[in-house]
Each structure stands twice: as C-alpha cells, then as structure tokens.
Symmetry: C2
Subunit: 151 residues, 2 copies
DNA sequence: CCTATATAGTTGTATATACAACTTATGTTT
DNA sequence: AAACATAAGTTGTATATACAACTATATAGG
C-alpha cells in the first residue's frame, strides 16, 4: 500500500518529506513484523540482536561495552537486556578476571540453538520480500547508508 | 557511515538481509534525529504526529478513531497521547453531541503555533539531506512502498 | 421492548525505554 | 602512596509502549 493510503494523507510537501516519513514508517513496520514473529520464541528484537552479537564473538566472551556499540539501538540498557537472557539461560555472565570492572558474557548452547530458530524467521522474512530483486535490495541498502551520511 | 561500520559487522548474509537491517536501523536513526530536535519544544514525535493530523482536520474536530488510523505508529495509545496534549493546552476535547461515544478533538491556536515551529524542524531535516537529490528521494519513497507491498 | 452485538474510548498492568546518578575498579599525577 | 580522573557497569526513576480488560453508548433482531 502506498504511504498516502496507509496514513490516509493526500500528499507530502516534497519528495524529501515523503522519503523521511516513509523510511521511519517502513523501518517501524519491519521491526514490528520481526518482533511479532520473535514473540512466540519469547525474544524481543533487541534480545535477538544481542544474542546475534554474542554468537559473532563465540566462543570468546563479549563485554557489555562491546555489545552496546554493536546494537541496533544503542540507547537501550544492555545490562538489563543481558539480565533477561540470563534468566532464560541463553547466556552466562561472569566478572572478567583481568579487568574486574568488565563482565564477560558468553552465549550458551541453548542460546545458539534458539538462534537457529530466529535465523529461520529472518530467512522467512527475506523470502517474503521476493518482489524486491537482489539488485534493488542492494540499492536500498546503499541509499539508506547515503541518508545517514549527512553530517 | 556504512551499516557494517555502524554495527561493527563484517558483512551480511545477502542483499535482502542487509536491506532489512538497514531500513530498520535508518528508520530508527531518523526517528531519533527528529525526536531529539522536538524535545526542546516539549513534544514527542508521536505527539507531533497527532498534532499534524489534527491540523489536517482543522477547523473540524477529529475523533480518537480517526487519529488512530492515521498515526505513524498505530499501536500507541491515542487516549493518553491526547491527554498529554490537553495538559499542554495544545488541543481541546469534548464529547460529541450526536454520538456520545465519540470525543471531538480540535487543535488550539497554541497548537497551531507550535506546529509552525515543528514545521521548521522538519524543513531543517529535509535540508540536511541535500546529498540526496529529489529524484533519489522519490525513488527511496517508492522502494519503501514496495517493501511493504509483500502481502 | 429486551437482549445481543458492535462501536468508541478508557483504564490497568506488565514490560520496555531514556537518561541520569551512583558504584567499583583502574590509571595517572604529583 | 594519596588524590584525582576515567572507565565499565548497575541502579533508580519517570515516561512510554503493548495488550488486554473494562465501560458506556448505539444499533439490530426476535
């Protein structure tokens, strides 16, 4: 559906205005599609994001700082996200012996297993977008980079 | 900055995967840019969104239902958003006499004045994206529509 | 009419988010 | 080595969000 129909709005002031609103709207739309599919697994999109980062480090530990700088949404509270994952047994956490200010966080076997499920969800999402061909997908990616490159 | 550098990640599994992550990331990034500029005016982006919808109806009233179906984020609680705007004197609210289940919400003069300020902010944002030319902006808009058009 | 159903908002609650203040540990000066 | 500064996490709190349950009004059927 066109953005104008989604928002029941006749038009936008300029192509740039329409672009800004549409990227925010579509980003949020995508996030909700994803969240809603992750929910049955008991994961929020942010928790899934953290798990993915931990898998990237596996079998090495990650610190909260490392997690934070790689998260999609930097402002959220990594400590409490990790708390949640800990409760579910998806990660382990212990004080780093070399630098006791740091905490070492490692994804567990159970966490890795769960990620296999979420991988399938992401893959399902990708397949849902087959009306977008790979060239277009790449183009969209480049254009997004370009939007953020405005200083 | 490229998405890979933002997230300190080497690569993505496919152009589609990169697209999905990049649209979510960039949408959120845009939202924060906007929110952070609206904050000095004491408005959240959602409150600004509602005010804009009310201006679209002005001088006619809008009901909560109408607001809800036009909001960028439909799941948020329109009642409480309007409460906030009411506290700030930016809207009036009264029971609709023809159908007493409905409430008529109208933007006040003060609300209209404030929107002039937020218009400037949006315009400022648009100008920040001058590295994107109007054709590209239009293209991005169309591609966003296409992403959501996947049934 | 009286009951059932649908509509329009409101309220409650659990969770999440944003931001600032606070600990604790390490590094740096003098 | 004491004092100060910085770094890495944690905690507190106010606000926001998501979802479900609830209230009040209106419409429709028997």
């Amino acid at each position: 559906m066109r953005l104008e129909d989604e928002l029941k709005q006749k038009s936008f002031k300029s192509p740039h205005h329409r672009m800004i609103v549409n990227v925010m709207f579509t980003g949020n739309w995508l996030l909700k599609e994803l969240s809603c599919q992750l929910k049955p697994l008991g994961l929020s999109s942010q928790q899934n994001n953290v798990l993915g980062i931990l898998r990237g480090q596996y079998p090495n530990p990650a610190t909260l700082g490392l997690i934070q700088e790689r998260m999609m949404d930097r402002d959220s509270n990594a400590t409490r996200l990790v708390d949640k994952l800990l409760e579910k047994g998806l990660v382990t956490r212990c004080q780093c012996s070399e630098n006791r200010r740091k905490v070492d966080i490692i994804i567990t076997e159970k966490g890795l297993e769960l990620l296999k499920e979420t991988d399938k969800i992401i893959q399902g999402l990708e397949e849902r977008f087959k009306q977008i061909n790979p060239d277009e997908a790449a183009l969209i990616g480049e254009l997004m980079d370009k939007i953020r490159d405005c200083h």
